[in-house]
């Protein structure tokens, strides 16, 4: 199943089973979704539940919050993570705080879905990974879907959840063919051990999962048995799974596409310092996006994000430098 089809299936089933589920966003209806995630939904559920909005991100999320207050279960689709910056006031000042500042009386069952990351030469205003902006906010759940199984099961969970969920996708994943499994009593907050290993823990999420899997083949040739963990949930973070792995491997690398400074790895490393310091044989290695906006030229673009080659060479250098 294609990744985007898994997302579509999750939305479709939720809309089928619960009339209060609606989806709104730019081009989600008649056009079929800019990445075809919502394809076919409008003909099944009509334009009252599959809502084509104007280009007004603040309102897309704000309206969705209002719908949630009134008892609907809205899914707000933002076309690209960069545009969600226009909606941040509604997400952060409103969605994340309404339950708390009402003393628990308000309930906001909201999902905000958005794709991000470096796709292919879309340049600085269309290529960002801003997950830490959301993962630093109390009151938000932040999930990342790197694969069809997680996408389907976690999105279904998110739609049924009674709290606001930021659901992050990646533009390069939509057309990818993937294994797919329906999971009973799915828990979206558990990290996934993608591959077990004993020498080294590699933490990653979203599209970087695939770059890490590529890199691991080379590491294996170099005699390194790496354990790959997909974080899945960025807030909350599954520190238990991470800590257990580090206890075994004594070494940890995080591979992320967002900018290094203040990126997701910064928070992960902090939690590792608090929980696993005495288990570590070496400082944690962060392989991250460079601290520059994303350039258009393909060669430059690739120079600003991790690639399988870079992941391998950085890990080998780091091992040599630390004598591990």
């Amino acid at each position: 199943m294609l990744y985007r089809e898994a997302l579509n299936k999750a939305i479709d089933e939720c809309m089928e089973n619960d009339e209060s589920v609606v989806i709104l966003g730019e081009d989600v209806g008649r056009y079929g979704g800019s990445y075809r995630v919502t394809e076919g939904l409008i003909s099944k559920y009509g334009e009252k539940r599959v809502i084509d909005t104007p280009i007004a991100e603040l309102s897309i999320v704000g309206n969705a919050i209002g719908m949630a207050i009134a008892g609907l279960r809205p899914i707000a689709e933002i076309m690209t993570v960069n545009f969600s910056l226009l909606a941040m006031d509604q997400i952060i000042n409103h969605a994340s705080k309404l339950r708390y500042m009402s003393g628990g009386k308000m309930t906001i069952p909201l999902v905000v879905r958005m794709p991000g990351g470096v796709s292919r030469q879309l340049a600085a205003q269309h290529s960002e990974s801003y997950e830490t902006l959301y993962a630093s906010i109390p009151g938000l759940i932040v999930l990342t879907a790197s694969n069809a199984t997680y996408a389907y099961n976690a999105l279904k969970w998110a739609i049924k959840s009674n709290d606001p969920v930021i659901f992050l996708e990646h533009e390069l994943l939509y057309p990818m063919e993937m294994d797919f499994k329906e999971v009973k009593d799915f828990n979206p907050f558990r990290a996934e051990i993608v591959k077990e290993g004993k020498d080294l823990t590699i933490l990653t999420y979203l599209k970087m999962r695939y770059d890490v899997i590529e890199a691991e083949k080379e590491l294996k040739k170099a005699g390194i048995d790496a354990e790959i963990i997909d974080l899945n949930s960025l807030r909350p973070l599954d520190i238990d799974t991470i800590a257990k792995s580090i206890k075994k491997t004594k070494k940890c690398v995080i591979v992320e596409e967002d900018h290094k400074t203040g990126g997701m790895g910064a928070e992960v490393v902090s939690q590792i310092m608090e929980n696993c310091f005495y288990d570590l044989d070496a400082p944690v290695l962060r392989i991250a996006g460079e601290d520059v906006p994303i350039p258009y030229n393909r060669k430059l673009e690739l120079s600003t994000i991790p690639t399988p080659d870079k992941i391998v060479s950085k890990i080998l250098d780091w091992k040599a430098k630390n004598g591990i």
Binding site: D27, Y31, P54, L58, Q125, D291, V292, R298
Partner: protein, 323 residues
């Protein structure tokens, strides 16, 4: 209409059209990537506005190749930018959506819908403070006219009587969303008419666009505050190269293609006896030469060095102070 003006209009529109047809070709060949938004069909707006609004500052969105050419940016530097080359107008770092040339008071190339409008308002404020009469030109689409930034901008520009020309390029669609689905008005001037004088022109007729901008410009230059112009036009291509544009009917497309701005200018000028077919053939030959040179320049230019990915984040002074 006079001969010199016809020549300018025709030449620039044709240059824009051929530039984009070539860009499309090279996109298919893989020399250009990312989002490529073509202006084909809308050249009268890009050329008419820039010919009339020839001083002042310009803020625009991502569908801006022809506007940039009409403003005076060299086609070869734009083509090189599309090819991602070091010699491109933004050194290969911006691509199609991010053409900048402050020497021409041309400030992008913004790919956040309506994101350039508040900046245009600020620029207009500064121009008023500096006693610059020419003011600021900001062009945007029907889709952008639904964004909060648009409404904030018309309010502020009007409240403070700023020298700002809002130019709404209404091609009816924001990607696949028709303006009538998401706005109570298809006529966008309805949104602005309580704030400032509004004008409409035929976006398929370069002379009408030109004359309307000339007329509206007077209000700005006399310090009477902002103006709003709406032009109805049509893009023949999809939203970008990744959109086939299937949501539009053949009939709708035909209505506008019959009004093609380039063909119609040519016909009109010949009918009026101002020039003959030969005259246009000569201009076409000149266009072909410029476009071929632009492609050659782009193809033969070097790629930027990897180090350049790390430059231009800050100015040299800051970089030095930091490192």
């Amino acid at each position: 209409m006079n001969r010199a003006r016809i020549e300018k209009f025709y030449y620039l529109m044709k240059l824009g059209r051929e530039f984009e047809l070539k860009a499309k070709e090279h996109y298919m060949l893989g020399d250009i990537a990312g989002f490529l938004h073509l202006d084909i069909g809308q050249e009268a707006v890009s050329v008419g506005t820039m010919q009339a609004f020839d001083k002042g500052d310009v803020f625009t969105h991502y569908r801006e190749h022809v506007l940039a050419i009409a403003r005076g940016m060299e086609p070869k530097k734009i083509m090189a930018e599309l090819f991602g080359k070091k010699t491109g107008i933004s050194k290969g770092k911006g691509g199609s959506m991010h053409l900048f040339e402050p020497r021409l008071n041309f400030y992008g190339g913004d790919a956040i819908v309506a994101g350039h409008l508040p900046m245009a308002v600020g620029c207009a404020y500064a121009r008023k403070l500096q006693n610059e009469k020419a003011g600021v030109f900001a062009i945007f689409g029907d889709g952008a006219s639904n964004a909060g930034a648009f409404f904030e901008s018309i309010n502020i520009a009007s409240a403070w009587k700023l020298p700002l020309m809002f130019f709404a390029e209404n091609n009816y669609y924001a990607i696949g969303t028709h303006i009538s689905w998401v706005s109570p008005f298809v006529d966008l001037k309805e949104k602005a008419r309580n704030y400032m004088p509004t004008f409409t022109c035929d976006g398929m007729d370069v002379c009408d666009v030109y004359n309307t901008v000339i007329k509206a410009k007077e209000i700005i230059e006399n310090g009477l505050g902002p103006v709003f112009i709406e032009a109805k036009t049509y893009r023949y291509e999809g939203h970008s190269m990744s959109d086939a544009g299937k949501y539009r009917s053949e009939e709708e497309m035909e209505i506008f293609k019959r009004k093609d701005p380039i063909e119609n200018l040519k016909k009109k000028a010949i009918k009026l006896g101002l020039v003959d077919e030969e005259y246009f053939n000569a201009l076409d030959a000149k266009v072909e030469q410029v476009i071929n040179e632009a492609v050659e320049f782009a193809a033969n230019s070097p790629e930027p060095e990897i180090e350049e990915a790390f430059e231009d984040v800050f100015c040299k002074e800051c970089e030095n102070a930091i490192s």
